[in-house]
Subunit: 206 residues, 2 copies
DNA sequence: TCTGACTACTCACTTTCTTGAGTATCATGC
DNA sequence: GCATGATACTCAAGAAAGTGAGTAGTCAGA
């Protein structure tokens, strides 16, 4: 039971439907919590049953009706209790890192391709977060906004996400370069007049 | 089924027992994959049944016997197939970020305490990773090691972990400072001569 | 000699997550 | 006029992950 707190936190500043919440989890919230739409609907139902959020039906004619949820006083109290507990270390699972861990036993080209994919992804995230941050702080400069702005929680978490993706991008780039350089390592000293095929340390398997 | 690949990757360079593997998952591997001992034992059993790892009994007299596992050719092939798939975006879940997301609605002192805890934790990790990296590269300097060292996979993932924890530490420090500064915001400086008690942005609740 | 910590695992149970499919309406473009 | 994609959800089944308790011997220190 931890998704629930992420949902409560995401719902604090605006009333959202399950669908909108799912969108939010695809954008900003995804930096520190990942969940599929189905989980969110399930969790919202549970939270409503326990009185931590309250939903209200909104009838629409151009689209299907929806239910908007807001956090109740009990919900806020639950978040407060949660904040008082000392936080668990952040929980990461990364396929890509698993692959790179095995780098010495796998084909370098394949890994370089994976690193390039991730680098592009990180770049897109960086753009996205940059935009979100600009939007949140409006015309103020960052220091001023952080000193006197009204809603800095989402801004701070977004800053963390941005830093994370920047590190990601840089690490991907650097790692790919290293793997690339090692493929040509057997022949020369000054970098690379590219070799034809075999006999490299990071082998391309038979 | 994803833990299995993390296990295979961790087992590539050395033969380990379930117990030792659990230790490894508490140190380096924990950066990109987290798992409890029970899960590892379960996974090892499954992997052995499928022939992706091979175990052998080692009789000890001073301690309980143990089973050491190594990756088989099939296991390596499975890893290769895994590496060929494009990696999912990294999966993060962080309690602390959830709490900070809700910062505008929670007690600032509580959050500052959480940030301080995490900062200390990150600091410890930084030390740990620094040590692991030194150990892996021995007396070589980093660039040289990355160019010609034999086992750079674990080194690269450890570098990622180090960068992550550094960012973590810096972000915690900065965020705590910001939250701290805002508590005193009603009194001083250029903008804002506002009110005495109520209506401060980061309120300490009743 | 008793306590607690370390090595080395196992079993059973529950919760959570993921996958896949399905429903229904409206707007847009080709 | 038909496919598509967006809005807005629901349900069911299965895989994966997490929790709690238990076993059993060794060693070091109080």
């Amino acid at each position: 039971m931890a998704l629930r707190h992420a949902v409560l936190a995401a719902l604090l500043d605006e009333e959202l439907s399950g669908y909108q919440l799912a969108k939010a989890f695809d954008l900003g919230v995804a930096n520190f919590w990942h969940a599929l739409p189905q989980q969110l609907y399930t969790e919202l139902t549970r939270l409503e049953k326990e009185g931590l959020v309250a939903g209200r039906e909104v009838v629409q004619d151009a689209r299907p009706n929806k239910r908007l949820f807001r956090v109740t006083a009990d919900g806020l109290a639950a978040l407060e209790r949660f904040a008082a507990e000392s936080a668990k270390p952040s929980f990461i699972r990364d396929d890509l890192l698993v692959k790179i861990q095995a780098a010495d036993h796998l084909d370098a080209d394949v890994l370089i391709a994976r690193l390039a994919e991730r680098e592009r992804f990180a770049e897109a995230k960086i753009e996205l977060f940059g935009g979100l941050l600009r939007q949140m702080r409006g015309d103020r400069d960052e220091a001023e906004f952080l000193r006197h702005g009204e809603r800095i929680g989402p801004y701070l978490t977004c800053l963390r996400g941005l830093a994370f993706e920047r590190e990601n991008r840089d690490w991907c780039r650097r790692s790919a370069e290293i793997l690339h350089a090692r493929r040509h390592t057997s022949r020369d000293a000054a970098p690379d007049t590219t070799s034809p095929s075999s006999s490299s340390p990071a082998r391309s398997r038979p």
